[in-house]
Symmetry: C2
Subunit: 347 residues, 2 copies
Amino acid sequence: MQSVFTFSLPSVLFFAIMKGKRGRKENCRFMSYRESIRVVDTTLRDGGLVNDFKFSDDFVRALYKANLAAGVDYMEVGYRSSKTIFDASQFGAWKFSEDEVISKVIGEVNPAIKLAVMADVGRCDFKNDIRQKKESPISLIRVATYIHQVSDAIEMIEDAKEKGYEVSCNLMAISKATPSELRVALDMISKSNVDVIYVVDSFGSLYPEQVRNFVKVYKEFAGKTGKKLGIHAHNNQQLAFANTIAACCDGVDWVDATYGGMGRGAGNCYMENLIGYLHNSKYDLLPVIQFVEEHVKALKNSKDVWGFDIPYLLTGISNQHPRAAISYIKEGRNDITSFFNELEKSE
Amino acid sequence: MQSVFTFSLPSVLFFAIMKGKRGRKENCRFMSYRESIRVVDTTLRDGGLVNDFKFSDDFVRALYKANLAAGVDYMEVGYRSSKTIFDASQFGAWKFSEDEVISKVIGEVNPAIKLAVMADVGRCDFKNDIRQKKESPISLIRVATYIHQVSDAIEMIEDAKEKGYEVSCNLMAISKATPSELRVALDMISKSNVDVIYVVDSFGSLYPEQVRNFVKVYKEFAGKTGKKLGIHAHNNQQLAFANTIAACCDGVDWVDATYGGMGRGAGNCYMENLIGYLHNSKYDLLPVIQFVEEHVKALKNSKDVWGFDIPYLLTGISNQHPRAAISYIKEGRNDITSFFNELEKSE
């Protein structure tokens, strides 16, 4: 199946004949197979921010099957939020992603895919709500932190590592951080027992060149302690996929994507684009597009709204949280000029 | 107005402190102001392929005003097709873009913006239908050619130059060309009197790295004879904007875009993204987003279908003309698996 979706011979020849040592290296970068690539499906978690995590059990099971068939490495089933902090009656099950619920809905986990949950600093009662790995269907704990919470994040990272999990750390809102803050945070995280550190474009404000610059800085710290790097992008400027493959070209191995780009606001890197791009026979595009056509488009045609639109573009360009754009769209406003001016004032 | 849509101080500092000579050059590339940038609005021409060029006069006038207010340099009003080849009753006026019609709808052209038409090799009776520049509201003739038609294209280029126009050349479907064909074509075109040579991703099949590789080859030829370069991208893989700014970073000055990305199949680079990106006080984002909200969204909600979708992704990935995807969507098909298999067979 994969065979047709490769480059035509002329294109390949074209790159093959490019001259110069540096040229050669760059030209084949995007075509190279890397065993170390890990695709992480974050549809239920980032997509859950669109519908308050109210996915049907059938949707979750079909997604799990699609991921398995597509060769996706990790499936993030949702947040592991604390029920003492959030009112469970307001959300679907995947806001909390309790071990029992995961096992009930998905059943025994096929070893070909690993499950993950995200644990936000300050919103997860990790000491009580994250068990020993051997008692849980989860393999990976994804700790999400703002830069000022890094000490707390490290406590969570070490707790999860001690319990036997793989652990990644999503350092959020870096486009608002000062260079020295960022370096201190990266130094601390890279000295922890975390396995993967993510470059996260929380506001969808970054251009590919900026992502590459961040990757360079992350590598400086992660390289010293042997950590892997990941990329989590948002589509405010229609650059989620471009930013993901830019990072990927520069050696970032862990790549987040969602089916149909489902995710908060403008959404994320589309899984169908990513799988179509990866030159790796492990991944199969057909199950991905089948899932989007059969399941995601139905959600998209319902009241669940996500994807590129002008208000998200504006919060992206102005490096702001998308919450103002989400409200604008939710309220059905159509006074874009006022919105434009409001953003300017809020800067 | 432009003030809010710039980078936050931390980001700027972040790039400012990056080390290394090469690093510095690359890091400021996307922030640099270039007087030589020319933004070309191709909404009526590429967007006309979506609705058979049936735009209302009000739409055209509002678009012209938006372009003027936004600082857009050129507005392509449509094709200059031959009425002996195409049945005029089947199309709106902008398939033919006759000088009289342009003058009637737009009136006298403000010197702050120039008008353009596209003339396809073999579809334009250029000797009769393109007058002397001084008798026409048009400033720029954009000659579009496949690689095997380059001799004919050069005849058209020279004819238009003799008549007094600026002339650009769009060399189409280069992702299917062999490297030697491409070099011969570029050699011929760059030795003509053309002003601008366009890198065109006709099938939306190219990744940013590939675009950069093409730009390098185009520069090799264009550099020798002092031609400018342009970029015309399609959004099959959601990379039209990313490919446009990648080319722009590498010194391509002429950049095509359409409001709301309106264009054949998956559409083009979005004008709102492009203007939001350009660090040039000449351009203003607000009139662009106002036009999209007031005029383009209404078209999009009507029967005129364009924009990223799975079938276009598949023709893009497999480096094929989007016509199969356009038919799939027009026919309201929902058998994506069959479509996937059909594409494989047609390769």
